[in-house]
């Protein structure tokens, strides 16, 4: 018996080496940013290094041509994964811009720039791997950085508590994912998803899929595994919350879509379909319902993010069951949602009076005194609500269209109805922005240049793709 028979992960070739360059760049650059952070001018240096690292890594990704398989097919770099990784890098750059304005106000350490780079490295590994254990490692690289980012505000009690809650529940979810992959390995003899999908059915395989999906549903914040989302969003600082809502959800949904597609194509499809359908229905209903009663804007956006998880799950089911151009609707929805969320958090960052959750009254009348912020926040909220002429509408249209195409009409009806209910809490914010008088002793909004850049870019993309989405849809459908 030779080595490759019992351990098929052969060392990478020259072609594979090129594919590993982005990950090496992220790892080395992140470490440099970490080393530079405690120095004099550390905040500036580490931010600069983190940005350079992300750009270098993005260039390495663009330079790749064709599909590359590395470490015995464990990591696959194709046009699709490259596009997803580039989107994640962009979110990372935006997050570093957002952090630059908040470091003093939120008592964040400069090391947070390095942590962003590390978590982007984990997310990039996550979207490019089809191997369950490498996905576990990637989830952990991503999550360990995020746990620290959440608990970073050391003097805030809410931050410490949110960090602990996220860590314990996240550890539970990771361990569940790992045990599920062990069961899948035991029942099929493979860790790679395509092979697991075609292996014969057994009780062990069904149980393994249930556990793996349970762990992933936690990471995306689906009901009934959603309890951490509002607490963590409230406890973390605004830029970190924006980063989590955009990037962590993006990466976790990419891997959930892969696993769900394997499960739905396999002989275990009935159990997997039931789990995903029930989770989608509960998530859409509860996320929107709970958001109606929230007072703080961070908690409101947390429940809104749970609701979006529900809509995305409909797309995941449709993609797994082989709707036209599988995966494109989910990827586009995630991209458009990422722009809307990052933009909304950039605006909130300027409008927030202190470092605790942003009360609704802090926005009163600000749409008239600060027209740019008001316009930005309005467009981003419309984007989340899915109002036509914004990118959010296109995303929702594609996801629900794919749902109808695969025959999940009840789920889509529920999705449309809950979207209408969601209009209430999005519009309530807009009404507060424009129709309430400014509070007498309210602190003035301060717009940092980083947040302004993010707002402008997100505003442009949200409006542009809302009006002219044809090219990006065509691009994602060819992947």
């Amino acid at each position: 018996m030779n080595l490759t028979e019992i351990f098929p992960y052969v060392p990478f070739t020259d072609a594979g080496f090129q594919g590993l360059l982005p990950f090496m760049a992220l790892g080395i650059g992140g470490t440099l940013a970490l080393i530079l952070a405690p120095m004099k001018n550390g905040a500036l240096l580490s931010r600069l290094f983190a940005l350079i690292t992300l750009i270098v890594s993005a260039i390495c990704i663009i330079q790749l041509d064709g599909t590359k398989e590395m470490i015995g097919g464990v990591l696959i770099m194709s046009t699709k994964t490259s596009a997803l990784m580039l989107a994640l890098h962009m979110v990372g750059v935006f997050a570093i811009f957002l952090l630059s304005g908040e470091e003093k106000k939120e008592a964040l350490l400069p090391e947070s720039n390095a942590l962003i780079v590390y978590s982007i490295c984990g997310m990039s590994l996550l979207v490019s791997s089809h191997h369950l254990l490498f996905q576990f490692i990637a989830i952990e690289i991503m999550s360990l950085a995020i746990y620290v980012l959440v608990a970073m505000r050391r003097t805030h009690r809410t931050s410490a508590e949110a960090g602990m809650k996220y860590f314990v529940l996240g550890g539970l979810a990771s361990a569940t994912f790992l045990y599920g992959s062990a069961l899948l390995y035991g029942s099929t003899g493979f860790f790679t998803l395509p092979e697991i999908a075609v292996a014969p059915a057994s009780f062990l395989k069904t149980a393994g899929f249930c556990l793996v999906l349970g762990g992933l549903l936690f990471k995306v914040g689906a009901v009934p595994f959603h309890a951490w989302v509002p607490d963590v969003y409230e406890g973390a600082s605004l830029p970190v919350t924006g980063f989590m809502a955009a990037a962590v959800k993006f990466a976790a949904f990419c891997v959930l879509a892969n696993v769900a597609a394997a499960g739905l194509n396999a002989s275990t499809s009935e159990a997997v379909t039931w789990i995903l359908t029930i989770a989608a229905a509960l998530t859409m209903a509860w996320g929107n319902f709970a958001a109606l009663t929230q007072r703080g804007l961070k908690r409101l956006l947390a429940y809104s993010s749970i609701a979006h998880t529900g809509y995305l799950l409909v797309g995941v089911i449709a993609a797994g069951e082989g709707a036209l151009s599988a995966g494109a609707p989910v990827a586009l929805y995630l991209l458009f949602y990422a722009f809307a969320t990052l933009g909304a958090f950039a605006c909130l960052q300027a409008l927030a009076p202190g470092s605790e959750d942003v009360p609704m009254d802090a926005l009163a009348g600000r749409g008239l005194t600060h027209p740019f912020l008001g316009l930005g926040l309005t467009v981003f909220l419309f984007g989340m609500a899915g109002i036509p002429m914004t990118a959010g509408f296109i995303g929702k249209y594609l996801v629900f269209g794919a749902g109808v195409h695969t025959g999940h009409v009840p789920l889509v009806v529920l999705g449309v109805l809950t979207s209408v209910a969601a209009m209430y809490y999005y519009l309530r914010i807009v009404v507060t922005l424009y129709m309430k008088p400014v509070e007498a002793n309210a602190p003035k909004p301060v717009l940092h240049w980083g947040a302004a850049v993010v707002t402008v870019l997100c505003l442009m993309t949200t409006l542009y793709y809302g009006v002219a989405p044809a090219r990006i849809i065509a691009f994602f459908e060819t992947l």
């Binding site: 620290v148 960090g163 860590f167 539970l172 062990a182």
Partner: protein
């Protein structure tokens, strides 16, 4: 039928369930971290036993990665725990309740 080859799997399942119950029921966060370690090690045991019964090596090698990850995870967990103690003066979850799910 249950045979000797199934024993490691039964033990792994037992450890996993015990770990999960600890995480869900206990109030002391240090014990919660121990519960997570127990769950990860249950998965490790399961992986090693499956790899052995299938005559493959990859399951066993992967366990090394998982052990490394578990070590990193407890380092991060303990530092978050120290932070929690500094803010609340306790490491039990019922003392740290300013946020409500």
């Amino acid at each position: 039928m249950l045979t000797v080859t199934h024993l490691p799997q039964v033990l792994a399942l037992f450890l996993f369930v015990v770990g999960m119950l600890i995480v869900l029921l206990r109030r002391n966060t240090i014990v919660l971290l121990m519960g997570i370690e127990l769950m990860l090690n249950a998965a490790n045991l399961s992986l090693v036993a499956f790899a052995r019964s299938q005559g493959q090596l990859d399951g066993q090698i992967m366990v090394f990665f998982v052990i490394t990850i578990a070590a990193a995870e407890s380092a991060v967990g303990l530092s978050i725990l120290v932070n929690l103690y500094r803010n609340f003066g306790a490491v039990t979850t019922d003392r740290a309740q300013t946020l409500q799910g």
